[in-house]
């Protein structure tokens, strides 16, 4: 295998990894902040799917403008996130984890069927993005421009989240409430409102991932959320649940691994991902950056 191929497999892996990161970031944020009570949101993949479908609908209604779809679509999913947190999840925070998982899993099934009812069970073809269609030659071989764009977006989202959490006033409140929600409320944080806001923001991140996936995946299918949520969960687990830094690193590794896996041992593509997860869990049960359990 020559250098050219290696570079291209790496680039493909990076773009896959960045998609997983976009979904895992919202998942991690929700777990990290609401994690005092350990909310693992299975329905996060549904936000990704709904983000893609909403984005698709908006852009096809409004003159095929992808950017407008990306702006409005995820905001619709924010509203869905609000309803889920405010009227359902809020009541199971104090109950054991399996019930939360069951509830969020129920939403996965519900949204899959909802998508079938609204958009139909078939696949929808997606448009190309003006300006980012086509490909650019890299080392004499063509690479999709849009994938390069995704490789750039991932780190920007990471940087944005880092600034939000570490450098802003809201980040400070989030850090305080995620380590001690009771004391946070005793100094004046309206914790239920904060949790709703964080959940909506996490849903928005997942939906952005879905919206950005519209031109990338080519076809939208009702089960598209499940495929990515598994990768996102693996990434969140090996990075350390609740750690954004860990999720970013984990997404890079899983992206590259699956890219090389598909290229060299296609039959064992998924196998590699789970072998890595098992190995990390044996070596460091709390993940790369998780707190010791």
């Amino acid at each position: 295998m020559d250098l050219k191929s290696i570079v291209h497999v790496c680039l493909a892996g990076l773009s896959t990894g960045m998609f997983i990161w976009l979904v895992a970031s919202g998942l991690t944020l929700i777990f990290g902040v609401l994690g005092v009570l350990g909310v693992l949101n299975f329905a996060h993949g549904s936000f990704y799917m709904l983000g893609a479908y909403c984005c698709f609908t908006v852009l096809s209604r409004l003159g095929d403008n992808f950017w407008l779809g990306l702006l409005i679509g995820p905001l619709c999913v924010c509203v869905v996130g609000y309803v889920i947190e405010r009227f359902f999840l809020r009541y199971v925070y104090r109950i054991e984890l399996p019930y939360q998982l069951l509830l969020t899993f129920a939403f996965v099934l519900l949204f899959d069927d909802l998508v079938k009812i609204i958009w139909g069970a078939g696949s929808l073809g997606s448009p190309s993005v003006p300006g980012l269609a086509g490909s650019v030659p890299i080392l004499g071989r063509n690479f999709p421009t849009y994938s390069l764009f995704i490789i750039a977006v991932g780190p920007l989202v990471a940087l944005g989240l880092w600034i939000l959490i570490e450098k802003t006033w809201y980040g400070r409140i989030i850090r305080a409430a995620s380590s001690d929600r009771e004391m946070a409320s005793a100094i004046g944080v309206n914790v239920p409102v904060l949790f709703t806001a964080v959940f909506m923001f996490g849903a928005w991140l997942g939906a952005m991932g879905g919206g950005l996936a519209v031109p990338y995946v080519g076809l939208l299918t009702p089960g598209m959320g499940e495929a990515i949520i598994i990768d996102a969960f693996v990434v969140a687990v090996i990075g350390g649940l609740g750690s954004l830094k860990g999720a970013f690193l984990g997404a890079l590794i899983i992206g590259l691994l699956s890219s090389f896996g598909t290229r060299f041992i296609p039959t064992f593509d998924m196998f590699l991902t789970f072998i890595l997860m098992a190995a990390v869990l044996l070596w460091r049960p709390q993940g790369f950056f998780g707190e010791a359990v």
């Binding site: 400070r172 305080a176 946070a184 409320s185 005793a186 100094i187 004046g188």
Partner: protein, 233 residues
């Protein structure tokens, strides 16, 4: 009256912790809650703060009923709480721990970061250190500083003298006297009687979740029967 508590009943799950507890604290007064471990002192403070809501009874702060309101409401109304385990935010620096309390309360007044750092100079030295890396004594000062930063009208202090060396306790008493003399209303739960007498004029004694005795600190400390029955370890 700054705070009037009338026959509150607080439960943890099914256990009935506070049974018809009543007491009051006048404006600018420092009052001690006394009693052995596990008699309900912490639960009393938590009930006032809205962290454990009493199922029955009344809590009036500045003549307004506040029972059942959430803790963030109490913080904005002007009550600050220092828990016995301090609960300093581990992922925030010393300075951020102070600032967040000031900004969230949206209250202004005498206390500022500068004034708090003058009161506890070590907090100025540790400004950029993460909460998790502070020593026990530093955490205590930060816990008290954080409560003051909200510019509350009343502070609830849970075991302020616990775990401190006698010399530090003496200087802490001076600090609390200073805070009190600035007009702050103080309700503190503590087991160190001498410390309580120095800071507080009156004391209430709790026993098995009930208020069993109330008097001036002088009278309580002169009464060997009361001490033997409710306070001696």
């Amino acid at each position: 009256m700054k705070l009037q508590v009338e026959s509150i009943n607080t439960y943890y799950g099914k256990s009935h912790i506070l049974q018809d507890v009543s007491f009051d604290v006048a404006s600018g007064e420092a009052v001690a809650l006394l009693g052995r471990n596990g008699v309900g002192k912490t639960t009393t403070l938590r009930s006032v703060m809205g962290l454990s809501t009493p199922r029955a009874g009344s809590i009036r702060f500045k003549d307004k009923e506040i029972r059942g309101k959430p803790a963030h409401f109490m913080a904005k109304a002007g009550i600050a709480y220092m828990p016995d385990d301090l609960r300093i935010f581990p992922d925030l620096t010393c300075e951020e721990n102070l600032e967040i309390a000031r900004r969230l309360s949206k209250r202004t007044g005498y206390w500022s970061k500068k004034r708090v750092e003058e009161l506890f100079p070590v907090l100025g030295e540790r400004r950029r250190q993460m909460g998790i890396n502070l020593s026990g004594g530093e955490k205590k000062m930060l816990g008290m500083g954080r409560a003051l930063m909200a510019n509350p009208e009343m502070v609830l202090l849970d075991e302020p003298s616990e775990g401190l060396a006698p010399m530090i306790v003496a200087s802490l008493a001076r600090v609390i006297e200073e805070i009190r003399d600035k007009g702050m209303t103080i309700l503190m739960a503590d087991q160190n009687l001498k410390f309580c007498r120095r800071v507080c004029k009156r004391g209430y004694i709790l026993e098995k979740g009930r208020m069993v005795h109330a008097d001036t600190m002088e009278a309580i400390m002169a009464d060997d029967t009361v001490i033997g029955k409710y306070l001696a370890l």
